[in-house]
């Protein structure tokens, strides 16, 4: 009985780690890349976090190119991945989550007309953290 309890305890401990690992697999990434459609894949930002945290990435967007940002998470209700896009002055341009309508958008399209540094902030809904990948693709306007 004691052994069974230990096994159960170990299973509980390992469960979140197993599920976190799933979003860095080749299959997960390939499925996500398919959502870029006709855009050329250029970057993968892997995000794995616990509790309420934010991770920030930056990229120099160029005028004349359109960028597609695709968010892929583990599709857990209440723990969806949110991407916020900021400009060079850290002014919010857009969020993949509309707080008013409580709607999540899985992808953002940004036809860039001002070359500069842009920031992608990744966070997860709720306070449980989560795991996902955001991909960046581009094509000429």
């Amino acid at each position: 009985m004691k052994i069974l309890k230990i096994i159960l305890f170990l299973m509980l401990l390992t469960t979140p780690k197993i599920s976190f690992g799933q979003c860095s697999s080749d299959e997960f990434l390939d499925n996500c890349a398919a959502k870029l459609e006709t855009f050329t894949f250029i970057k993968a930002f892997n995000t794995e976090m616990k509790k309420t945290q934010k991770v920030e990435y930056s990229y120099i967007f160029s005028k004349g190119s359109s960028y597609m940002i695709v968010a892929c998470d583990q599709d857990i209700p209440g723990a969806k991945m949110i991407i916020n896009l900021y400009d060079r002055n850290k002014k919010l341009i857009v969020s993949s989550y509309n707080k008013k309508s409580k709607k999540h958008y899985p992808d953002l399209l940004y036809p860039c007309s001002a070359t500069g540094v842009y920031y992608l902030e990744v966070t997860f809904e709720g306070s449980k953290g989560g795991c996902g990948v955001s991909l960046l693709g581009f094509k000429k306007n």
């Binding site: 230990i6 250029i42 970057k43 794995e48 976090m49 990435y57 004349g64 060079r88 958008y105 953002l108």
Partner: protein, 305 residues
């Protein structure tokens, strides 16, 4: 038997806990926002490994420049590339990382033009250099060869090549070998800019000229990354070379006008209507000067001088 199982528990617990390391460590000595702002780059700054990683990540992919070239209508020109015959010239790890970056820039150009036969030749060279740097595991040459020989898989080849470079770069940085990543990214950028200036001289395409001018923004990030390792002679020399390029870019102006963006929803997707603009001012003389300095820097790299 049961005793053995229980003894394993603390070890297992330790493994699980150390595996759940927080990936969001934000303890920079210098604010990354300040570093990435093109107006505030100070080469003398000493910045953290984490900030260096963020800058490396922010440098545009060579595919973007190559795409612009193709879009201009220019034909593919193999003469612009660093010959794979040069691969044995590179002896030290730093030289090999630089060479790999140059070949990566070439590969972006080759891939965009879908020249799979040439791509294979370059991937083979890149794989050799990667093996020498102990990162060859990221290039599964057999899979790449299969894709390159199948016209339907050209998109996959492009995807896989990009992904392999991404993974190799992440691995190098995780292994505290960011200095090699910096060289790789720097050389890739130099090669992409070299090819675009060569095409720019031939076509006078406005988007290409504009893109050359905009490299002033990226040049500042490149200089900042390289300066971080300037206690090393190789990096110090590289910094001096790139500083010559910065001098040529100094009189190029980029004006940014901010206007509130609009957001619309199209087919369930959010589309940003960007109303801000950047206007660049660059003359043909400035482009020629940039092109000349760049060619000299690149020649020193590819001849491993």
């Amino acid at each position: 038997m049961m005793m053995k199982k229980i003894q394993l528990f603390p070890i297992f617990l330790l493994l699980v806990l150390t595996g759940c390391k927080n990936t969001n460590n934000k303890s920079d000595e210098v604010n990354i926002n300040d570093i990435l702002n093109e107006e505030s780059t100070e080469p003398e700054l000493v910045i953290s490994e984490e900030s260096i990683n963020e800058i490396i990540q922010s440098i545009p992919s060579p595919l973007e420049m190559a795409s612009l070239i193709k879009e201009s209508g220019a034909s593919f020109n193999e003469d612009f590339l660093n010959s794979t015959d040069n691969q044995d010239l590179y002896r030290t790890d730093f030289e090999k990382a630089m060479a790999m970056g140059i070949y990566a820039g070439d590969l972006g150009y080759i891939n965009i033009y879908e020249k799979s036969y040439v791509a294979l030749k370059y991937l083979k060279t890149i794989k050799k250099l990667a093996d020498d740097l102990n990162v060859g595991q990221f290039f599964d040459f057999e899979t790449i060869k299969r894709m390159a020989s199948n016209a339907d898989k050209i998109d996959s080849l492009l995807y896989l090549s990009t992904l392999n470079f991404e993974r190799m770069d992440h691995y190098l940085r995780s292994q505290k070998r960011s200095n090699l990543s910096v060289l790789l990214v720097t050389a890739t950028w130099i090669e992409s800019l070299y090819i675009v200036t060569k095409v720019g001289n031939l076509t006078s395409s406005e988007p290409i000229i504009e893109r050359i001018a905009e490299q002033k923004i990226i040049l500042n990030q490149i200089l900042l990354m390289v300066s971080t390792y300037s206690d090393n002679q190789f990096f110090q020399n590289l910094h001096e070379e790139i500083s010559l390029l910065k001098k040529e870019f100094e009189s190029v102006s980029i004006d940014y006008v901010y206007r509130e963006p609009e957001i619309v929803e199209e087919d369930g997707r959010l589309v940003i209507i960007d109303n801000s603009t950047t206007e660049v001012n660059i003359t043909q003389e400035q482009i020629n000067a940039i092109s000349n300095v760049l060619s000299e820097i690149r020649l020193k790299i590819i001849e491993s001088d």
